[in-house]
């Protein structure tokens, strides 16, 4: 099975840029007081209002952008098999009756020959079990096991 090399640079660039902009937003909020163009105890001047009204949304939106890039990074890592694929409860229920989907959930880089053989064997046994549950005759399942064994030998 071919594995996709995850390239994380683009996600890291997006996350770094978002963090930098978040810091810029924080500075925008602090600047009127740090640079003292907002007189102490007086009403806010228009520069202060503008800086705060811009700085707070900038900081919040930068955090949102960071979240988007982080989610994309997690998705890429999952697609590459580095992180475990999140299983839904329904998918887990179906996995008991559909053994072929279980093979796709195994992380690709971790698949050695032994893993593949064991996965094939487990899939054949699960197919046999589900065929019996569905009232199929035993010949069908025997044939599937024989086919798998023949494929492995070939």
């Amino acid at each position: 099975m071919p594995t996709t090399q995850p390239t994380l640079g683009k996600y890291l660039i997006g996350m770094a840029v978002s963090l930098l902009i978040f810091l810029a937003g924080g500075w925008l909020i602090l600047a009127p007081f740090a640079l003292s163009y907002q007189p102490y105890g007086a009403d806010w001047v228009s520069q202060t209002t503008n800086n705060l009204a811009t700085g707070i949304p900038v900081a919040v939106v930068a955090l949102v952008a960071f979240g988007f890039f982080f989610a994309a990074l997690l998705g890429a890592l999952r697609a590459a098999g580095v992180l475990a694929v999140r299983k839904r409860p329904e998918a887990q229920g179906q996995a008991a009756f559909q053994p072929a989907t279980g093979l796709a959930l195994v992380p690709a880089p971790a698949q050695s020959d032994l893993d593949r053989t064991l996965s094939t064997l487990a899939a054949a046994l699960a197919a046999d079990l589900s065929a019996r549950r569905q009232g199929g005759n035993a010949q069908v399942s025997d044939q599937s096991i024989e086919q798998v064994a023949t494929r492995r030998e070939a």
């Binding site: 683009k10 902009i21 900038v58 988007f68």
Partner: protein
């Protein structure tokens, strides 16, 4: 891969948000003059310098983020297409 799919991969939601921040940078850079907090013909006051500088930083950094993501995404597209072709060939041969 369709053109729409490729564009979606090159311009993710994060990049759209960065574009929003780019527009915010433009506003920051022009706001002292638009709101006339900077006296005309006078040397720039501290708030003008700060706001214009931050606006410039915001514009440059957000553009860098958008373009950097797009460039690296463009570099990855052929690689992924090649991996997909190899996977298809392996599937058809086995």
């Amino acid at each position: 891969m369709s053109v729409g799919n490729a564009m979606r991969r090159l311009v993710p939601p994060g990049s759209l948000v960065l574009f929003l921040l780019f527009l915010t940078g433009i506003w920051l850079a022009i706001s002292p003059f638009a709101m006339t907090t900077q006296p005309s013909g006078q040397p720039w006051i501290a708030s003008t310098i700060n706001t214009v500088a931050l606006g410039g930083v915001l514009m440059i950094v957000s553009l860098l983020g958008i373009v950097g993501y797009m460039a690296l995404g463009l570099r990855d597209l052929p690689r992924e297409a090649q991996a997909r072709q190899e996977a298809d060939q392996e599937t058809t041969s086995s």
